[in-house]
């Protein structure tokens, strides 16, 4: 009763931010899954930076913690079983992790939005696509349903869905996979967010439409000037679109740097292996290289370097001592390897 004035209610609408602060700064982020088998260290002291207009690609094998990192930034982790055990996620200087949920919610969709892998399951089957896009405007902008529908049609036009005005009342299952992913992209850009996170946005699609959807996503990013975090296994796409690359292995960032440099000259043996497993357009007859072995169990990580068991460059020290988390190379990038300098200079041989 008395505190009505002091506890200002959280208002709908886009949360105010300080544009002078860095767009996204993740520091020391750790996520643990408490399961019956034990605690799985899914994300382990991860740092990550994203600037306005930048595309950051996160690479890494299945299970390396890419999606969990994205979900932590988005604030959609299932807690429990997940638990964030350390770190900060600063958006324009504000830590999203210490923010009350009421306030945090306003960042989702408006400041940070997400494109999921499988649009068919990511869309609700019982509502029309128009209702699902329009919902963003009725909730966050207080629009009437009629105006929201107009907005939906505009957005569907923008992501080049043919006959948008007629299709706005269709249900997700009535669209092709590519069109559905366009609808996901329309929802992601609807409120003009500062960051778009795309978690394997083309993996579930036909090869024939993958390129188109990826192109659309890149175009929308350019148009909105937002930052893009792109999680993908497609190194071709990374080479084309990414400004920065983070390579994850067993929940850790093992290499981080500008895309061109990482591609040209990896500073971590795991990145090297990953690039070698990339199918090349030239030499179609080449046998695809795959890194031998499996990543360690997240329930029981080795005390030394997590990559040691599979690393062609590994020495005794690798099995005993964890590598320094970020060896700085030529002032622009980082590698978590005892022999980072040597790897840059001579590869793993």
């Amino acid at each position: 009763m008395f505190s009505q004035k002091t506890t200002s209610p959280v208002e709908e609408g886009k949360p105010e931010v300080d544009e002078n602060q860095p767009l996204l700064q993740v520091r020391d982020l750790s996520v643990v899954f408490r399961t019956r088998e034990g605690s799985a260290q899914a994300v382990n002291k991860v740092d990550l930076d994203l600037a306005r207009g930048q595309t950051l690609a996160i690479l890494g094998e299945s299970g390396s913690g890419k999606s969990v990192t994205a979900q932590a930034i988005m604030g959609i982790l299932d807690m429990p079983p997940a638990e964030i055990t350390s770190g900060t996620i600063k958006f324009r200087g504000k830590d999203l992790l210490t923010m009350p949920e009421k306030e945090r919610r306003l960042y989702r969709g408006q400041r940070i939005s997400m494109v999921f892998q499988d649009a068919l399951s990511a869309l609700n089957p019982v509502y029309t696509v128009g209702e699902q896009i329009g919902e963003l405007f009725t909730v966050h902008r207080g629009m009437s349903r009629k105006d929201a529908k107009k907005k939906s049609i505009e957005l569907m036009d923008k992501v080049r869905i043919p006959g948008a005005a007629a299709r706005v009342t269709d249900y997700p299952h009535q669209f092709s996979g590519g069109m559905r992913q366009r609808i996901m992209i329309a929802m992601a850009i609807a409120l003009d967010p500062d960051i778009i996170i795309a978690d394997e946005p083309t993996t579930a699609l036909d090869v024939t439409v993958q390129a188109q959807v990826m192109e659309l996503l890149a175009e929308m990013r350019r148009e909105t000037g937002s930052g893009l975090i792109l999680i993908t296994h497609d190194l071709g796409v990374v080479a084309e679109t990414a400004d920065m690359i983070s390579v994850m292995y067993a929940g850790r960032t093992v290499e981080h740097g500008p895309a061109t440099k990482v591609f040209a000259n990896p500073a971590h043996p795991y990145t090297l292996g990953l690039l070698e497993s990339m199918p090349r357009l030239t030499g179609a007859g080449d046998r695809l290289y795959a890194i031998p072995g499996l990543p360690p169990s997240l329930l029981n990580l080795p005390s030394g370097c997590p990559f040691a068991a599979r690393c062609p460059r590994a020495e005794d020290i690798c099995r005993q001592d964890p590598p320094p988390p970020a060896v700085e190379i030529d002032g622009t990038r980082f590698s978590a390897c005892h022999f980072a300098e040597e790897v840059v200079a001579h590869g793993v041989r």
């Binding site: 959609i76 989702r108 399951s121 990511a122 089957p125 019982v126 963003l136």
Partner: protein, 308 residues
């Protein structure tokens, strides 16, 4: 859609014929003299037996008898009860009572079953969840009439909260306790089904999307969790109408309700076959129609389903 409905309606004809024939043959196959209690304590006079035998074509083979019976029924003649009243008239007096009882039962299923199911799912593992899972297990394990007698005794006789029997015309307030007893088994299933589907839907990808869109929690639950979870639950409740009508026979017996169940029960006990068959046919017809309605409702609830 229209063609689908017509097709379903046409399909009802063979189903109705099949079920009535089965019921008809079973009714006449029951051991005992069909005229045993028709003339009070005395055996029926020969002339009466002869007349009845002729009227019902009892000397003809069963399919022929049945043919005559159906022919009469198609002309709106459903036969007569032992006290000379037309079966149709007696049924139209009893049917609304049973419908009311079923409505009360379904209301319980919807309000309590779905409501508590949702609450239990949202507090999964809590005291409330455990308590209702236990109660629903009890409801599933005990026959309805046991629950009926127990509640009748404690809530009706001991505490006087509810009336023990149902008065003439079956006023709604008298039907609360019988309706709850009738619903008890299904109520338990609805609760469990709601809880299970809700927990499943909570994990669905589209719910994660809804959260990622920054929707308020209440809206995520209402629009994207509960709405989706209700599809199988409502389908179940619809299909349950038939089971409830069947269960009404027992419940109406326990609470002495003059509904269709009571009528059927009485007719069976005095071997009044015409009534048994007519009333059952009526019940089967209602079940078939309700099932059609449920299927149409299902398509309304889930746009992925289209009938052609």
């Amino acid at each position: 859609m229209g063609r689908y409905v017509v097709r379903r309606l046409l399909l009802m004809i063979p189903v109705l014929i099949g079920t009535t024939f089965l019921i008809y043959s079973m009714a006449w196959a029951l051991p005992g003299d069909p005229f045993a209690s028709r003339c009070g304590q005395r055996p029926c006079p020969e002339s009466f037996v002869q007349a009845e035998t002729e009227r019902l074509h009892l000397d003809d083979p069963l399919p022929i008898q049945y043919g005559y019976f159906m022919l009469n029924m198609a002309q709106g003649d459903f036969g007569q009860t032992s006290n000379g009243e037309s079966v149709l008239e007696a049924a139209s007096r009893a049917f609304p009572v049973t419908v009311k009882l079923t409505v009360v039962a379904i209301a319980f299923e919807i309000v309590l079953g779905i409501g508590v199911g949702i609450a239990a799912a949202l507090r999964r593992g809590g005291y409330l969840d455990g308590f209702f899972l236990f109660v629903s297990l009890v409801a599933i394990s005990f026959p309805a009439f046991v629950i009926g007698y127990v509640l009748q005794y404690f809530l009706g006789v001991k505490l006087g909260l509810f009336s023990v029997t149902v008065g003439r015309g079956a006023p709604w307030e008298d039907l609360i306790l019988p309706g709850f007893v009738l619903a008890s088994l299904s109520l338990a299933y609805v609760l469990r089904l709601t809880r299970a589907t809700l927990l499943e839907t909570l994990k669905a990808d589209h719910v994660r999307t809804a959260i990622a869109k920054g929707l308020p929690r209440g809206m995520v639950l209402r629009k994207h969790v509960v709405r989706n979870s209700l599809i199988p639950v409502i389908t179940y409740i619809g299909a349950d109408v038939g089971i409830l009508l069947g269960g009404a026979i027992v419940t109406e017996g326990v609470f002495n309700i003059q509904g269709i169940g009571g009528m059927l029960f009485h007719a069976l006990s005095i071997r009044e076959n015409a009534t048994v068959v007519s009333v059952t046919t009526l019940v089967v017809l209602v079940i078939l129609l309700v099932n059609l309605l449920v299927d149409l409702l299902y398509a309304r609830l889930d746009p992925r389903i289209r009938y052609e």
